[in-house]
């Protein structure tokens, strides 16, 4: 494959000794091949970016569901860039509780919760948010990652536990 690629880059020989120029034609050929490979990589990265490898796209959008609840979130995030966690709860009772582990919250800043919880408490290493709900409900959390890397978290929605996985790019 590299030999085939190199053979496409034939450059004319120049035999001259009057012009004092440090031309290295074998290096120029390697440079041209490197550039073409670089272009290819660049467009592959852009194509993957379009479909969401770096966040906001079909590769990134995830939905995790149990019988009573569903969470929509982005698998791939970028550092310091806000994202939404959308909780959809079916047949909610008069109150819904969402529990988020503290070590997850240490990597994200919760910027806004809609609707606002009427109680917020910390128990056994998790932050619990209690909401007044009825019927099918939707709760949105706007969060911002403040560290990079791969994170997993078990989020409790009433009695269900749903696992989220994020990868935060620098």
């Amino acid at each position: 494959m590299p030999a085939m690629l190199f053979s496409k880059f034939k450059l004319e020989d120049v035999k001259q000794d009057s012009l004092q120029v440090e031309e290295d034609i074998s290096f120029v050929r390697k440079e041209l091949v490197f550039q073409r490979v670089g272009w290819f990589v660049m467009f592959v990265v852009l194509a993957l970016g379009c479909v969401g490898l770096f966040g906001t796209g079909i590769l990134s959008h995830r939905t995790e569901a149990t019988a009573n609840a569903k969470i929509e979130y982005e698998r791939f995030l970028r550092f310091d860039n806000k994202t939404q966690l959308i909780f959809r709860i079916n047949n909610a009772n008069s109150s819904t509780t969402i529990g988020i582990p503290i070590n997850y919250l240490s990597k994200f800043i919760v910027e806004k919760i809609t609707p606002e919880p009427h109680i917020q408490r910390q128990t056994n290493g998790s932050m619990f948010y209690d909401f007044h709900t009825a019927g099918s409900s939707e709760i949105r959390m706007l969060v911002k990652p403040i560290t990079t890397g791969n994170y997993k978290a078990n989020i409790a929605v009433n009695r269900d536990v749903i696992q989220l996985t994020h990868f935060v790019y620098p």
Binding site: L11, F34, Q35
Partner: protein
């Protein structure tokens, strides 16, 4: 992320992306390319600084970028290979009035670009009046005419 690492990451990325896109990219600054350069600098500035507008960060970033450039120039001076890798080498594209088609095509230089450089730098009228044309490391075209 630490601003020094951010600065270094941006420096290395820019070096790489400008080597990949080649000498001719943004070598002649048209109005559109000038605007493109402004957009690139604005994008980089936001990624490097983020929401940290402190003087300390500004000092650190300036020192990082200048320091990286200084180290690179020292390495280029000491090792010829580093110079070639980061800057490339000049390429002769016209030899004794004859355009070297493969070299020009692969370097993305059109005959019109050579004639343009010949006209604007030396007032030459025809390709046959050019002894050598060299695509320089910065993407510009040097014209050497025949001596009368």
């Amino acid at each position: 992320m630490n601003p020094i690492f951010r600065g270094l990451a941006i420096y290395v990325f820019l070096l790489l992306i400008f080597r990949i896109t080649g000498k001719r990219s943004l070598s002649e600054t048209t109005t559109f390319e000038f605007v493109l350069l402004l957009i690139i600098s604005e994008t980089i500035q936001q990624a490097m600084v983020g929401e940290d507008f402190s003087i300390t960060t500004a000092f650190l970033l300036i020192m990082t970028l200048m320091g990286a450039d200084l180290v690179l120039s020292l390495l280029k001076n000491k090792f010829k290979t580093v110079d070639k890798i980061t800057e490339g080498t000049p390429v002769i594209i016209v030899d004794n009035g004859k355009p070297l088609q493969h070299r020009m095509k692969l370097s993305r230089v059109a005959e019109e670009d050579v004639l343009n450089a010949a006209r604007s730098s030396l007032g030459l009228e025809r390709m046959e009046e050019i002894k050598f044309a060299v695509l320089e490391n910065d993407g510009s075209i040097s014209i050497i005419p025949y001596k009368n």
